[in-house]
Symmetry: C2
Subunit: 365 residues, 2 copies
Amino acid sequence: MQVGNKYYESLWFDRDHPGEVRVINQRRLPWEFQIQIIDSLEEVYLAIREMTVRGAPVIGVLAAFGMYIDAYNHPDEAHLADRLDHAAEYLLSSRPTAVNLAYAVSEQQKIYHAISGHSAVTGALLRRALGMADTEKEACRLIGENGFPLIRELAEKKQGEPVNILTHCNAGWLATIDYGTALAPVYKAHKEGIPLHVWVDETRPRNQGARLTVWELKQAGIPYTLIADNAGGHLMQHGMVDIVLVGSDRTTRNGDVANKIGTYLKALAARDNHVPFYVALPVSTIDPALKDGKDIPIEKRAAKEIIEMEGMTGTKIQKVSIVPPDTPVMNYGFDVTPARLVTGLITEKGICQASEEGIRSILKY
Amino acid sequence: MQVGNKYYESLWFDRDHPGEVRVINQRRLPWEFQIQIIDSLEEVYLAIREMTVRGAPVIGVLAAFGMYIDAYNHPDEAHLADRLDHAAEYLLSSRPTAVNLAYAVSEQQKIYHAISGHSAVTGALLRRALGMADTEKEACRLIGENGFPLIRELAEKKQGEPVNILTHCNAGWLATIDYGTALAPVYKAHKEGIPLHVWVDETRPRNQGARLTVWELKQAGIPYTLIADNAGGHLMQHGMVDIVLVGSDRTTRNGDVANKIGTYLKALAARDNHVPFYVALPVSTIDPALKDGKDIPIEKRAAKEIIEMEGMTGTKIQKVSIVPPDTPVMNYGFDVTPARLVTGLITEKGICQASEEGIRSILKY
C-alpha cells in the first residue's frame, strides 16, 4: 500500500541481497517508519516473538523466509535437513496461536525432506517463501473484492451517509503482505468512492489498533476515530456501527474464530444489536485439523505488556509503568469467538458461513 | 478502610477547619497517597470534573459539601439563595451521568428554599452533607452484608478453592465514603475468611481498575490479578470467573444500569457463559424518574484521556502520548447495561431483581 508517495509491502525480498528479508518495523509505528533487515534465523524468531512483525499471514511468510535464510547462511552444513528441522522447531516456539506459522514451516519441511543438495534446497525454499508471499497477497486482494459488496450494500441503504465499520486490532496490510484481511474490503470500498468511517478499537494491551490501524487508515485517507476497547458495545447500542470486520489468527473446522483478545466481546455486542459481524481471512488461516475453538492454543504473553505503556514525550519514545511493576497480571493474547456469533467468513474463495458445511464449501475437502 | 496502619475514608470533614473538606486525591494513586483540602466551590467543581474524586456516591456527598462551603465562604451575601442556586447549577454542569450528584444538590436546595438566615442555612447544609456521608457509608456497609451470602454460597460450592470475582472500574471505598459498592461484599467475605481472587479490569481510558481497585485490594491484602478490559470474555468462557460485581452511576426505574463504559460488554459475556452478574448500588443511585436507560445522559469526555497515558518513569510521574496528539478520538464515559442482563441489584435494603417490580419492592414507592 501507499506510504506517502511510495508503495510498500509489509515484508519483501530483494534479489540483490539474497541472505536477507526486509520488513517494516511495526514496533516503531506510528512514531517512525523504519525498515528492518533480517538476515538470520535468530532475528526471524525475535521479529516474530517480539512482534516487530505481527499478523497471522505475514508471520507465516516470514517463518518461510526464516527457513530459507537459515539454509542460505549455512552452505557447508553436512546435515542440512537436521539443521532445518531444528530451525522449524525453534520458529514454532515463537508464537503458538496463528496456524499460518505452523503451515509455512511444514510446507518448507516438505521441500528439504523431498530433495537434497544445498543449492537445490535453498533455491526451492526461497521459491516457496516467495510463492507464499504472492499467494497471501493475492488472497488478500480477493478478500477485498469478495467483501466489498457487503459494504456497497450498506452504503446503498445509507444513501450517502458514511458506512460505519468497527474493527479490532490490526488486520490491515501490515498484518498481511498487502491489502489486509478485515481492511481489504475497506480499502476497496474507499477506492470505489464509497463514504466510510472506521471505529478503531485501541486493542489493549499492545495497542495495535491505536498504533497500526490508525496509521494505516491515515496513510490511505480513510476517516477514522480511535476508541477505547470498552466503547464498542455502546456504539452498537446506538446504531453507530453498521458492520464489524475483524481478522483471525486461526479458525477451526466448525468456524470458531481465534483472534486478538477482546474480539469475542465485540461479537457478543454485534449479536445483541443485530450488527453483522464478519471475519476476513485467507484460507491459510483455517485449520481443518481442529474440531473447534477449544483446541486452539491461546498464547499467554508477558506481564510487562500490560504494566508498561509506550508513547511519545516531546520527541522521545518512552515507556511508563501504568501500575507498580510488581502488579500481578494475566495477559492472554487471543480469545475464541464461537461460530454461532459470526455472520460469515470472507475469504479469497468467497464468503461462507462460519460452519463445517460453509468451510467445506470453500476448502472443498 | 485501612491504609497502612491508619483508617481513612475517601472524604471527611474536620470541625477544626469548618470551611474545608478533605479528600484522598485519586489522581495521584497508586503513586502517591495525597490528601487534598478543598475550600471553595470552584475547587469542588474541579475535583469532580477532573476526577480528583470520582464514584457516584462520593461525588454526590462532595457536591453537598460544595453547597455548604459556598455558603460558609460568603457570610455577607445578601442573596444567599440566588447564590446557592447558581452554585447548584455550576456543580450540576461538572458531570452529567451520576444521579447522586443531582440528588445531593437538590437536597441542599430544599434546605435554603425552606429556611433563611446565613448561619441557620449554613448549619443545615453542613448537617445535611454530613448526614449524606453517614447514610452513604452505612448503605455501603449494608451492601457488603447483603451481598456477602452470594459469595459465601459460591465458596461453599468451590470447597476451599478461591471464589473468582471479576470487577470493572473502581467501585470500592474510594468511590464511596467507605466499604465500596461492588467491593463491599468482597471486603466482607475477606474479613470472614473466605478465599477470594479478584480479576481487575484495567478500565480504559482512565484506568480506574488498574490504578485504584488494584491499590485498594493491595491495601486490604486480597489476592487480585490485573487484566486488559479485553480479557474478561475469555476468562468467563474458561470457567475462571464465578461472579461479576460492578457498581452503577445511575440505574433507572426498569433496572437498566449506567456504569463505566465497557460494563455492558462484560454483562453480555456473563450472560453467554451463565456467570452471575450483579450490580451493587445504594438506593441513592436509583433514579425512579427515568423510565429506562435510553434517558440517561452519557458523558463524553476529553480526547486526551485516550491519547495520553500517565505512569511512572523511575521516580517521576509522566504522561506519554500513545498516539499522535491529533488523532480523532471518541470518549464516552459510560454505557447502559440492559436490565435483562443483570442477575440482581445488591442494595442496602436487600437484593432485588433488576426490574420495575424489583426496584419497587426495595424503594416501596
